[in-house]
């Protein structure tokens, strides 16, 4: 589903964020990405979204080589990846419903279809009764769940999450992780970047660890 082959990323300011990183995520796999801040977690996710291009090596998503992908195909790539951001990236000038509906509107779904699918996604994250509120009236945990609902509403085959529990207390974090696990059980490939090692290892999934741009371990039992 996602394959990195000897990928390096050097930014224009000379900072080398990723160094010869290789790994493969199989369809339906759930995997964590850890490392101290600045280790390259965000860069790795950005490469998958084609927000950045690899300086070297091969990034394959859906069997497509992202380095050779024309810009006009990038929107299509992103529609097939649901992303959960640490800072939610919600739009505060519209309701929770409209925020979650946005990917479907972009995709061009029917209005009746949109309503049904948005409510299904909100139901899944337990916010069905808050669809008319503005995201600004919600708590941090609720906002994060709105972000998750928006990421899954189009039922993308891949979900990426960048520190999805960054601002949440342990109980809420566990709930959010439980949600991801549920999506994974439906066959969605999930990659979650997190520095919360306790939480990550408690999940028992595969863990990729980055340090200073190198991938120093790939497996369950890493330190």
């Amino acid at each position: 589903m996602i394959r990195f082959d000897n990928v390096s990323k050097r930014y224009e300011n000379g900072h080398e964020a990723l160094k010869q990183v290789s790994f493969t995520l199989m369809p339906g796999e759930m995997c964590f990405l850890t490392g101290h801040s600045g280790a390259g977690k965000s860069t790795l996710l950005k490469l998958i979204m084609r927000m950045e291009k690899a300086t070297q090596g091969l990034v394959m998503v859906h069997d497509r080589n992202l380095s050779q992908m024309a810009d006009r195909h990038v929107p299509h790539l992103r529609r097939n990846i649901g992303v959960v951001f640490q800072n939610h990236q919600l739009l505060f000038d519209r309701s929770v419903f409209d925020n979650v509906a946005l990917p479907l509107v972009i995709e061009g779904a029917d209005p009746s279809d949109i309503a049904r699918r948005v409510r299904a996604a909100l139901d899944k994250v337990g916010l069905l009764n808050k669809e008319k509120l503005s995201p600004i009236m919600l708590s941090g945990g609720e906002q994060q769940r709105v972000g998750i609902a928006r990421a899954v509403v189009t039922r993308p085959p891949i979900i990426l999450a960048d520190e999805p529990t960054g601002n949440l207390d342990p109980k809420l974090s566990a709930e959010v992780m439980h949600l991801f696990r549920q999506f994974n059980e439906t066959g969605v490939t999930i990659l979650i970047a997190s520095h919360d090692l306790d939480l990550v290892y408690s999940m028992g999934n595969r863990v990729l660890t980055l340090k200073d741009g190198f991938m120093i371990s790939d497996g369950n039992n890493a330190v």
């Binding site: 369809p27 339906g28 979204m49 927000m51 859906h62 006009r72 929107p75 299509h76 790539l77 992103r78 529609r79 097939n80 992303v83 990236q89 919600l90 739009l91 000038d93 946005l102 990917p103 509107v105 972009i106 995709e107 061009g108 779904a109 029917d110 209005p111 009746s112 279809d113 949109i114 309503a115 699918r117 299904a120 996604a121 139901d123 899944k124 928006r150 899954v152 509403v153 189009t154 039922r155 993308p156 085959p157 549920q182 999506f183 439906t186 066959g187 969605v188």
Partner: protein
Amino acid sequence: MSETDKSQNRGATPRVAPVPATPKRRQRVGDPAPPKGASQSEITDSSRRRSTWRHHNQMAKDSLWRILRSPFSSLMTWAVLAIALALPAGLYLFLGNAQVVTSNWDGASQISLFLRSDISEEQAQRLQSSIQLRGDVATVNFVSKAQAMTEFRELSGFGEALDYLEDNPLPNVLVVRPDASAGDVQKQAGLLEALKKMPEVEEAQLDLNWVKRLYYIMELSQRAVLALALLLGLAVLLVVGNTIRLAIESRRDEIVVIKLIGADNAFVRRPFLYTGIWYGLGGGLMAWWIISISMIWLEGPVRNLASVYASSFELIGLGIGDSLLLIGSATVLGWLGAWLAVARHLGEIEPR
């Protein structure tokens, strides 16, 4: 919201039959494995067209609403656009009216052909009918010596003195009026030359000077108005472009987010293009209104002036065609200005 959209779509587009062919998703989020790329493959061409239309419809309304939500600044923008549009349009109207006035004078341009004294009246009349056949001539009148003498006698007051003349010293004259459609100065001069060369003609006269002056003044004014229209059209582009630039800037976060979740450029562009269209349309309508008000305001004085000159001249306002042209070109300029801003600034906003 979805209900109203639907009913409006129905009115405006020929809807494709209710698409049982499109497989509707019955899956819920928790249901088993969504197939890879599923969200795309289910969207057929016709439903994509409908959804694009729906988005156009929504964005048209949404951008209009955003403009109306800040009425004061929008009104200012519209007023600036309206003034920039009304100025050349008003001058264009003024020129049009001036042309109507001067076309009455244009009829006064005539060529007098003084025939040689050995040309008889019959020969003169044959010449009259042969000149009449020319395409660039409207009418030819024959004034015989005798007629001319009679006229002269009546008008000059030399009646008795003229009786002492043995001969009639006046020549036979043909008065040629150039055709109005061949009315520009060069053509009239060409006609004059051609007539002068005729063997029967002793002398041909055309008082070109003031016709020429008038013609060149009109030509100059037309150019000046055109140049002004181009400049002010450019001003409209820049005003709209700058307004749209600010709108893009104020919605930067939103643009980043929708690009991140897979909006293509057309989708991102659409609301701003509609904003440009609304600004242009509003500016055009306001310009039309300014001109109409001015016409009403000027009507009385113009009528008074015309009556002093014993003329029944009436101001000509913007016809339906000109009005549509004004409002239409304003709308196109608004759209174009938005395009320029969008092309320049949307590319810069990429998620980082």
